[in-house]
């Protein structure tokens, strides 16, 4: 059934590792990964739990297609209660770690309690044990990977770890696997750090079996790969230019949040775009982009591998940043660049390396820097407090703030709080560009109205990966809609949210949806595992997952008031571009959305809705 039917339960307080069966009834109702792990979290924890207390649990989870030959079938997620948001957190990552976990014979790991000392979990097929990580504590994810591989004399071990950010409680710390892939958002790395868990290292040689109908699976995965190859976006655009190709597009349509969303267009966008990454630099005559890269089983290969000029001021004395490593994706280039008015491509690449090295979400970090720069411009924060002159556009300030946050020194301890807590502390909460405490990503809701509703209603705080209506409103996938109007966006967001929840629970990557629909996913799942997986059932499961997450958040104490956007987006019109003069129409869309969802005017799922979904 593409499932190992096995969970590894790790009690960090007691130091025990135990095997238990996967609940296969739940797997039919919640599919896997995001849906299934959330079901476990809901069943086993109090939604009001302090996210950084031993009572919170952290689940690393795969989907039924993880580790199989389905294209992009290498995904895993980290599910827990998020410290940045106080809401459900589910962060999804690629690379090779998830597939390795599945190939070791496990579907999911549930971590509970807190270890009395730093440990890492070592898994070699069915053998699992906690090992001392005192020598790794205080070091980076890169050092941790290298050290564990050397200790076990095996370069093929796959590792997910936290850097110093996770240890230091940076509220947007991530879990980094395979050096530069990350379960990035909502602070799942801080939860891992709070448990004194430094890393999970896996070697799996069992493989993934239990395919329900292997012949049908071969046919379904082959057909689905052809759809990806034949599609101009997944077959050509993403491999060559990566997600970064959006930089100039979103700037042109006037939806690039710039300088803490004071503007919607950035004059330096071209200099930090995919096109610029392909060009030869004046300094060393080389391009920033070295090549593209693929995660496990992926036939798209959108990943960026970059190398900066060794003589760039930010690395001239730091050889460890001279090699080729994970490069800029669109979100990171935006958050570290346009959000702060910084247009130095190599500086952004280095800031991104620091985020990978020490495990920080570049979206929340970069957007927090944007808020700090605005406070600095206003005179609320001074050079003496921050430690460096920090006007908008300062690449030096960006790099220094990345170092101090990662290392937990000086003002870095305040940057670690995220923009919502930091701006509140300094008397200007309105300057935090966040929802539910989580910073929003690279699309301005004044220029792409559906994204405003997406951010406001996202269960894990502001996020583009919960309903990527940019696909429809800007790129015309699956159909073109007008980004400047609110009409129809409630239904559009709901449809994207439900479909995304299904994809996130399958073990495949959301980027397949530029070519695939649920209709392409269903035959692969149905051949892989029992459950009668159809397009209709997947849509229903997606809606069930969304409502389950909503119920968790409501029980955690969140209300309809938390489904809102920063005041700036509702009161300060866009200054240029097609959206000039517009603000977000969130107040009109929100009630329409609640109605479309079958929720009350207070945003609570009605009894009928819950009954219909079996919740």
């Amino acid at each position: 059934m593409a499932w190992n039917k096995k969970i590894l339960r790790v009690n960090l307080s007691k130091g025990t590792c135990a095997s238990e069966p996967l609940n296969m009834q739940w797997a039919q109702q919640y599919l896997g990964q995001r849906g299934l792990a959330t079901k476990y979290l809901v069943a086993e924890t109090d939604p009001k739990v302090d996210p950084l207390s031993p009572e919170n649990k952290m689940i690393m989870t795969t989907g039924p297609l993880t580790g199989t030959m389905a294209s992009t079938g290498g995904r895993y997620s980290v599910v827990t209660k998020g410290p940045l948001t106080g809401a459900i957190a589910c962060s999804n990552s690629g690379g090779h770690f998830g597939a390795e976990l599945k190939m070791a014979g496990w579907d999911m790991i549930i971590f509970e309690g807190k270890s009395p000392k730093p440990v890492y979990l070592w898994i070699e097929n069915d053998k699992a044990e906690l090992r001392d990580a005192s020598h790794l504590w205080g070091t980076t994810t890169w050092h941790t990977e290298e050290t564990i591989k050397a200790a076990h004399q095996d370069p093929q071990i796959r590792i997910a770890s936290i850097g110093r950010a996770g240890e230091n409680g940076v509220l947007y710390a991530c879990v980094v696997n395979d050096l530069h892939r990350a379960a990035g958002r909502s602070g799942v790395g801080a939860v891992m750090g709070s448990k004194n868990l430094k890393a999970v290292a896996v070697r799996g040689t069992v493989g993934v079996g239990n395919i329900r109908d292997f012949k049908a699976f071969l046919q379904a995965t082959k057909a689905a790969k052809k759809v990806l190859a034949d599609n101009a976006v997944t077959g050509q655009g993403l491999p060559k230019f990566g997600t970064q190709v959006l930089m100039n597009v979103i700037n042109e349509v006037g939806a690039l949040p710039t300088r803490n969303a004071n503007d919607v267009q950035f004059e330096g966008a071209r200099k930090i775009s995919a096109e610029a990454m392909h060009e030869k630099r004046p300094g060393d005559g080389k391009s920033n982009l070295v090549t593209n890269a693929a995660c496990f089983g992926c036939t798209i290969a959108c990943g960026r591998v970059s190398q900066v000029d060794k003589n760039h001021w930010s690395v001239v004395n730091s050889p460890k940043y001279w090699g080729a490593t994970g490069g800029l994706e669109y979100e990171n280039a935006w958050s570290l660049g346009a959000a702060n008015g910084v247009d130095d491509l190599d500086a952004l690449t280095v800031a991104n390396m620091i985020c990978n090295e020490d495990g920080m979400d570049p979206i929340s970090f970069g957007a927090t820097v944007g808020a700090i720069m605005e406070l600095y411009q206003m005179g609320v924060l001074k050079k003496e407090q921050i430690g460096i002159e920090s006007p908008f556009g300062s690449a030096q300030a960006l790099i220094e703030m990345a170092h101090m946050t990662a290392e937990g020194r000086g003002f870095g301890k305040e940057i670690a709080l995220g923009s919502a807590r930091l701006t509140k502390k300094y008397g200007h909460p309105e300057l935090s560009m966040s929802v539910k405490g989580q910073e929003f990503p690279a699309y301005d809701p004044r220029g792409i109205q559906g994204m405003g509703l997406t951010y406001a209603t996202s269960n894990r705080g502001a996020c583009h990966l919960r309903s990527y209506t940019v696909a429809s409103e800007i790129l015309g996938v699956p159909v073109k809609t007008d980004p400047l109007v609110t009409d129809g966006k409630a239904d559009l967001v709901k449809a994207f949210q439900d479909a995304t929840a299904a994809f996130d629970s399958s073990g495949t990557c959301i980027f397949t949806t530029f070519a695939w629909t649920l209709g392409d996913l269903a035959p692969q799942l149905d051949a892989a595992c029992e459950g009668g997986w159809t397009l209709e059932k997947l849509a229903e499961v997606g809606e069930r997952i969304w409502n389950m997450e909503r119920q968790y958040n409501l029980a955690a104490g969140l209300t309809a008031k938390d489904d809102d956007l920063p005041k700036r987006l509702k009161t300060e019109p866009a200054k240029s571009g097609p959206a000039k003069g517009l603000v977000s129409g969130i107040d009109k869309m929100k009630p329409e959305y609640y109605k479309s969802r079958g929720w009350s005017a207070e945003g609570v799922p009605t009894k009928d809705t819950l009954a219909r979904l079996g919740l």
Binding site: V233, Q236, V245, N248, V253, G254, R270, Y330, K480
Partner: protein
């Protein structure tokens, strides 16, 4: 009249060398020239002409032949692309 013509991603290969650094070219076109006529003049492969924006606003395929450009307009074109 003068308009700004921008080509991105794979389409940048159709720009003169000196314009590739900016993806942008200022061109002189007869008054009333349509979006489709400019696209034809540059011999752009139809399959790569996907996202067509005039001053940031999307122009759907059926409207491109009838959409006349005005002095100072910015015509920007992308092949099928996406990100996230």
């Amino acid at each position: 009249m003068k308009i700004t013509f921008k080509l991105y991603a794979m389409l940048a290969d159709h720009l003169p060398d000196e314009a590739r650094k900016t993806n942008s070219l200022e061109i002189e076109v007869p008054s009333g020239r349509t979006v489709a006529e400019v696209i034809d003049a540059f011999n752009l492969p139809p399959k790569l002409v996907h996202l067509v924006l005039v001053n940031g606003n999307f122009v759907p395929p059926p409207e491109r032949a009838g959409r006349a450009l005005a002095e100072g307009d910015i015509l920007a074109i992308w092949p099928p692309i996406a990100g996230g």
